[in-house]
């Protein structure tokens, strides 16, 4: 792959990768770092792309895997930090703190609460829901990214919504 081809690939895909990363990482700096890691991975492993799916699908798959990997890593670090100092009130403060720049002003607070709630979903539900709600992928496209059937994706999103309703009910009943 020439440098020019790579630059072309980056400019064609950078927004979708960044927006997806932002949906997962919920922090603009982390999203930028993670997007760069995605493109470095793409550059180093381009030979693994066999053309069996769209290039964008392959890139989405790498993006999701990289983000989930990073979230797991951060979760482990956070847990060990909590074990070290369980009494720190700042760590236990679960107030929504991420405001997506593309959310209309009147929805910002609710969207922040929703993003916080999404974090509590199991990984697969989180992935399907994020790709649907943040990247507006169809169930078919999500199925290709996650290598699952459309009905599995429908079921994942249905369960994600049910779980989110429970999480949000708990949240609103306790504020």
């Amino acid at each position: 792959m020439t440098e020019e081809d790579f630059h072309q690939l980056v400019s064609e895909n950078q927004d979708r990768v960044y927006n997806t990363c932002l949906g997962f990482m919920k922090n603009q700096e982390d999203a930028k770092d993670m997007s760069q890691e995605v493109f470095i991975h793409v550059y180093q492993h381009m030979d693994r792309f066999k053309g069996e799916s769209l290039l964008s699908t392959w890139i989405y798959r790498i993006t999701v895997n990289k983000c989930l990997e990073e979230i797991r890593k951060k979760g482990r670090q956070k847990r060990s930090a909590q074990l070290e100092d369980i009494s720190d009130p700042l760590i236990q403060n679960k107030a929504p703190d991420f405001y997506h720049p593309g959310v209309v002003l009147e929805n910002q607070q609710r969207a922040a609460i929703l993003f916080k709630a999404i974090e509590q979903l199991p990984e697969q539900q989180q992935t399907a829901f994020t790709l649907a709600k943040v990247e507006f992928l169809t169930y078919e496209e999500i199925g290709k990214v996650m290598e699952k059937s459309v009905s599995s994706i429908e079921s994942l999103i249905h369960r994600a919504k049910q779980n989110l309703q429970k999480i949000l009910r708990d949240y609103y009943e306790n504020i």
Binding site: S11, Y18, Q36, P101
Partner: protein, 94 residues
């Protein structure tokens, strides 16, 4: 919060991303990506150079130690042989 209000709020929250405008990558994205890749490449180059340097030094040390041990052994054998010759002894016994 009342139950009906809670239901309404949950629905509004669940639908709060409906009008989301997708975020765009920062303007300097490609530039900082290129810089990061150059930095990583240089870093990898230095790591490799260090690895080769350490491996080279290790081989050099091992060869030197082997030569030293070997020369000491041959010197010792030579000494035994000359003592044995002087005293008219069979060298194989020593």
């Amino acid at each position: 919060m009342k139950t009906s209000d809670t239901h309404k709020e949950i629905e509004l929250t669940l639908n709060s991303l409906d009008d989301l405008e997708k975020a765009k990558a920062p303007d300097d994205f490609l530039e900082s990506l290129t810089n990061k890749m150059i930095f990583r490449k240089e870093q990898r180059l230095w790591v490799n150079r260090t690895k080769y340097a350490i491996a080279g030094m290790l081989v050099f040390t091992i060869v030197n130690v082997a030569l030293l041990v070997n020369s000491k052994t041959s010197q010792r054998k030579e000494m035994i042989r000359s003592v044995a010759k002087e005293w008219n002894l069979k060298t194989e016994e020593y």
